[in-house]
Chain length 260, copies 2
């Protein structure tokens, strides 16, 4: 397919590379910052533009990968070209596109992308939605060229997935950051914690999180929790986080085979 | 070495298996619950006992793997045998053992263990401490038979590691549980989130967590955060967790190359 990417952030970058590798032709990359557009465009042999007036309409699909609050003004400007328009946002309803064009769909990769980290796109779950059965079919064909994990997900389900992803990805990463800071402050090597982080993520690939919960809170070990809170006496935010998450663990439904 | 295990929980079980596989002789397994002792003892060809009076003193080392608040009474009862006594606790000072015996040490595996999940013990970081240089040497030799990652860690550093492990393991697992519940409540398959969980843990193996933080909070995307809080209106605890962790992310030191 002939594709133009609107946006040059992490999602656009990884998606663009995957599409290019799958043999698609990437016509243009748009960003309001021409340098950003050029950086991505260079890698995927596309033209960089920083003005939507310069859009080449001779493509099959526009993929919009920008901040949520920038999507509407972009679809408004693309709609007159009468081409398929997809966005990649977890929390934006397809209705926003449908206000401006009937050729609307969603192409949401449920993954975290970072600039300097390669990813195997074939394993990325792609959540797709389309305005019509014909559009869904078209999007699915495109999706299958880059991923093995395609899911039909409507806008209300996608909002839930996006919220769940914040809990499963963004928040754990922040907790890794807290742990790393604690170690660094005490001249300990973050390396020591890495096998634990890997194993924690690995365990829930095969068992429910509730069945493999460990630590002082699930044992209701108040002695240890109080010691920990005392160690954090100079860090009121971390104390609050410790207390709140421990409360949650104490209250959680542990199922029958909880490890402690 | 001839080893007796005091305790039959997850740590004792995985440690016992690793020691047995490395060719050590496990003499006895003690648990106040004889069935629990017998289950582990069966797997590692040891004798199960439920009374410390039945301890066979003809061993080289006692390894105490029980709840923190049970350690003291056990070391008190083992001290008269005059053998090396190690505990495996992250948050218990070596001083507690030294109150009763000079032959004291610590053998703390920095990992999360679950009953039904195999683990490659050679990759488990083992944090060791001993009362004397000779004891440290002896513990290190034992440690090297089962792990490639041996660290000399004193009691105050070990407390920090244990606290950091709660943030890097126990709390993320609880957040996975929240995410899984959100999906299940909306008839979505937890399978969809698994690649995200794996990738999130994988990213920090090579980069600092602060450099790979993603999500609405690090972008200070209030529109999305408010939508998420609204979706959680029936879950006050989850709302509080969402707000507190988002606040933390907004305040975190992102370094120079933050992904958003």
């Amino acid at each position: 397919m002939r594709i133009t990417l609107i946006g040059s952030g992490n999602v656009a970058t990884h998606l663009g590379a995957a599409l290019k590798n799958a043999g698609h032709y990437i016509a243009q990359v748009y960003s309001p910052n021409l340098q950003h557009a050029a950086l991505l465009a260079y890698h995927i042999k596309a033209e960089a533009i920083d003005n939507l007036q310069q859009i080449d309409p001779a493509v099959d699909v526009f993929i919009i990968s920008v901040k949520d609050d920038a999507i509407e003004s972009i679809v408004q400007q693309l709609a007159p070209h009468n081409k398929l328009v997809l966005h990649t946002s977890g929390s934006t309803d397809i209705q926003l596109l449908l206000k401006y064009t009937a050729q609307a769909g969603v192409f949401y990769p449920l993954q975290t992308f970072s600039r300097n980290k390669e990813i195997n796109f074939r394993e990325v779950p792609l959540c797709i939605e389309g305005a019509t059965a014909a559009i869904i079919k078209q999007i699915k064909e495109l999706a299958q060229t880059i991923s093995n994990n395609i899911y039909d997900v409507d806008s209300s389900q996608r909002r839930i997935l996006h919220l769940a992803a914040v809990f499963a990805c963004n928040f754990p990463n922040y907790l890794y950051n807290i742990a790393q800071n604690l170690l660094t402050q005490h001249q300990l090597d973050f390396e020591m914690l890495k096998p634990l982080i890997t194993e924690t993520a690995d365990k829930v690939q095969h068992q429910l999180p509730s069945a493999v919960q460990t630590g002082p809170a699930v044992r209701n070990d108040e002695l240890t929790m109080n010691k920990h809170l005392e160690m954090l006496h100079n860090e009121p935010l971390l104390q609050q986080i410790y207390q709140l998450l421990s409360q949650g663990i104490i209250k959680m439904d542990k199922g029958s085979n909880a490890d402690k």
